[in-house]
Symmetry: C2
Subunit: 246 residues, 2 copies
DNA sequence: CCTGTGTTTTTTGTATACATAAGAGTATAA
DNA sequence: TTATACTCTTATGTATACAAAAAACACAGG
């Protein structure tokens, strides 16, 4: 079909973009740990390209805040402090509420339908152990609300803020006890948007993010505690790359 | 003084960053027009560096959305549609209000003092024709509010959003009729924050941004009308670089 | 055992080289 | 005149080369 032809036509991706997406994923998934150095030659060999695309990808990661440059030293994976996360969540809370209120006014019937399905799918999955799918559906749910705002800038910013905590998402979704509450919250949000009730939508989304916030912060603290225990016990911590940077 | 030593120590800036800032300024000030191509060799010669730093700077501009890449064709300066600007202003309005409310709670006496001075300085300048200084003071006023939020992520996003319209700022500040109103608005905002009155602060900032919005949109429409008149009259429009891109 | 110094290695920052795609221009044929 | 094929130019995309800074190391001296 012509769709395929189009796909082939758009198939061209500069190496720098491939590298960018690869590194980005690796950082957000935690495969590259905070503090770990990104050495150009090493990455170039590993990915089978020259330093040039690597460097250009790093420039983008730099602007996105996923890596930090140390002059004449190169890039290291940015570490997120608890303060950073609180800041991100504070902004995200405001913008998620904004998006929800806008969705109340602007959502289309098709998107409303999609929102419903996403909610239902979450409900179906909530008692399974398929955390990856669960995370995807959760993303989908919010994506629909974003799309309903018809504000591309808002969507971009919200996606970016959300991705900042991607590393912790799976972590806290493993707390199965919260699934029921998440499900309820989704339903409340859906209902509020369906009715066009901005006040309820705002309140529900606020609660939703607050709960997420608490869960993520708890997960982080748990995670850090484990890390400390590990390094305390055996000095030669399992991995070299785990080193925090100054 | 030791401040100077420190300055010298931090004096090192990779060429890519110099180029980045240079190009960025040029775009935001309108020296590089929307649709204009950024050709690497040309820029390299002009700035006296090789293509490498130019390319790395372009990668950052790309992520920031200030340029758009066309595959195997290079970068062109992104053009802002009216919809884009409305989107930006919509998000900015929400976040400026958020910042104002946070400032009500968290502002320190020193920052409050700075806010007062910035307001007063604006008042002093408002009847002069020094639009550049006026713009700077206006920036300063908002910067103080941002600083008071103690939320670095919010500050970064707000700065970015504000810069998106930098190209139009001088334009609309030339409308001297609005200066008195701007001055009043600044005072209202200052007073609300001083009192810690979130409701008033929110309302005042909302009005402030709404007015700015109207002024900027008016300036753009005026600007575009002029452009059209120009190109309509003499087919060979004065500049090659003015060409819009597809 | 620690400390300071000179040397080597590694890695970045920048420049340049080379292959290829896209576009412009040109000549030729209908 | 218009269309088409062919060349030629230009600019990008990627790889490589080279200089210089920083880190790692070794070694002499206290």
């Amino acid at each position: 079909m012509s769709q395929d032809i189009n796909a082939v036509m758009n198939e061209y991706l500069p190496l720098r973009d491939v590298v960018f997406q690869t590194l980005r994923q690796a950082i957000l998934r935690g495969e590259l740990e905070p503090g770990e150095r990104l050495m150009e030659i090493h990455l170039a060999n590993r990915l089978g390209v020259s330093r040039t695309p690597i460097r250009e990808a790093i420039r983008k990661l730099e602007l996105e805040g996923l890596v930090v440059m140390i002059p004449r030293r190169g890039a290291i994976v940015a570490s997120i402090t608890e303060k950073d996360l609180k800041d991100v969540l504070e902004v995200r809370r405001t913008l998620e509420i904004m998006a929800g209120e806008m969705a109340c006014e602007r959502i289309t019937p098709e998107l409303l339908e999609q929102l419903k399905s996403a909610g239902e799918e979450f409900r179906r999955l909530k008692d399974t152990n398929d955390f990856t799918s669960l995370a995807e559906v959760d993303v989908k749910f919010h994506d629909v609300i974003y799309a309903a705002t018809d504000n591309q800038r808002l969507i971009t910013i919200l996606n970016n803020l959300r991705e900042q905590m991607y590393r912790y998402r799976l972590e806290y979704l493993k707390d199965t006890g919260s699934h029921e509450r998440l499900n309820t919250e989704h339903y409340e949000i859906y209902e509020a948007i369906r009715k066009g009730d901005k006040v309820s939508a705002s309140a529900a989304i606020g609660r939703h993010i607050d709960n997420q916030r608490d869960a993520i912060l708890a997960a982080i603290r748990e995670h850090e505690k484990e890390e400390n225990d590990k390094t305390d016990k055996n000095g030669k911590s399992g991995r070299i790359k785990g080193r925090k940077a100054e």
